[in-house]
Symmetry: C2
Subunit: 151 residues, 2 copies
DNA sequence: ACAAGAGACCGAACAACCTTCGGCCTCATT
DNA sequence: AATGAGGCCGAAGGTTGTTCGGTCTCTTGT
């Protein structure tokens, strides 16, 4: 994972449809060498997959909310129960007052309420606190640079 | 935006590297028709871009945190100031106690502290509350289904 | 009812690209 | 100094992207 790999990741985050020839030229490598580098990045899991970034509003998701979930039991093995709700796009175990933080996208506030109801139905859950997003300033992938020298 | 478009989006979210022939076969269309559909999905902004999903830990980001930001002024036009910090991967204006919610990835808690310091330096910011993520259960794209009928 | 037009699909053809391979170079090891 | 591994380049062939003409099905207007 050197600076060329980071440059490749940066390029592929911006546009994964570009050719290996263009990719190689962007980082100063031949087509074959760029291909080999990217193949290894995939193989080692640095690139988990290449995916289409879909606009949530095009899917009818106009409402975004973060919900903290309180519980009376250990939530470390409840991933399937949260994943079963398609409106939940992220779920994390957190330190602090609540046990779990989930990110929810719905078409309406009524539908958000329904998701909260279904979260309450999960075993051990005894409370939720929803925070509605009024406007998203930006959402972007993690930068391959800026993580480098922690000191 | 019919059920075929949604099936195409589902396919492309899972794997954007598959051929148009495979894509067409998955949704019951010819190669040319699948290509034309996807072209229009891009043109209309439903597909914002196709991108490599990079593992944050491969970039050295071992720490994930959500930070609520309190402020003494209107934060609706501060997107550039938050975007200037590469460790911030999301920023939202929220309803509720705080003004802004940001998602932060860093290599260490020391680096997280440094990000908090730089957030404090933004004009109008007078407080932050960080919530550390202990374990991510999952992070996934929004489902093309499940947004449709609210009932 | 019927003609006209738009939109979408199919199948095929050509250009562009992916993928692999042999050969070369560099560097670390012995 | 010899050896082996790893990475790069350039080229070749098989695969894919992209375009285009023709056909079909709806919708629109008279």
């Amino acid at each position: 994972m050197d600076h060329i790999d980071r440059a490749l990741l940066e390029q592929l985050q911006q546009d994964a449809t570009q050719s290996y020839a263009a990719l190689g030229q962007a980082v100063g490598l031949s087509t074959g060498a760029a291909h080999e580098r990217v193949r290894k990045l995939r193989e080692h899991g640095a690139i988990r997959r290449t995916t289409a970034d879909v606009d949530p509003s095009a899917l009818g998701y106009g409402v975004l909310a973060y919900v903290t979930v309180d519980s009376t039991r250990w939530m470390g093995d409840t991933a399937p129960e949260f994943a079963a709700l398609p409106e939940i796009v992220e779920a994390h175990i957190i330190a602090g007052n609540a046990s779990v933080l989930v990110k929810v996208r719905t078409a309406s506030t009524e539908q958000l309420q329904d998701v909260l109801r279904r979260i309450h139905a999960i075993d051990g859950v005894n409370g939720t606190r929803a925070t509605i997003v009024l406007e998203s300033l930006f959402e972007r992938p993690a930068s391959p640079y800026g993580a480098g020298a922690a000191g």
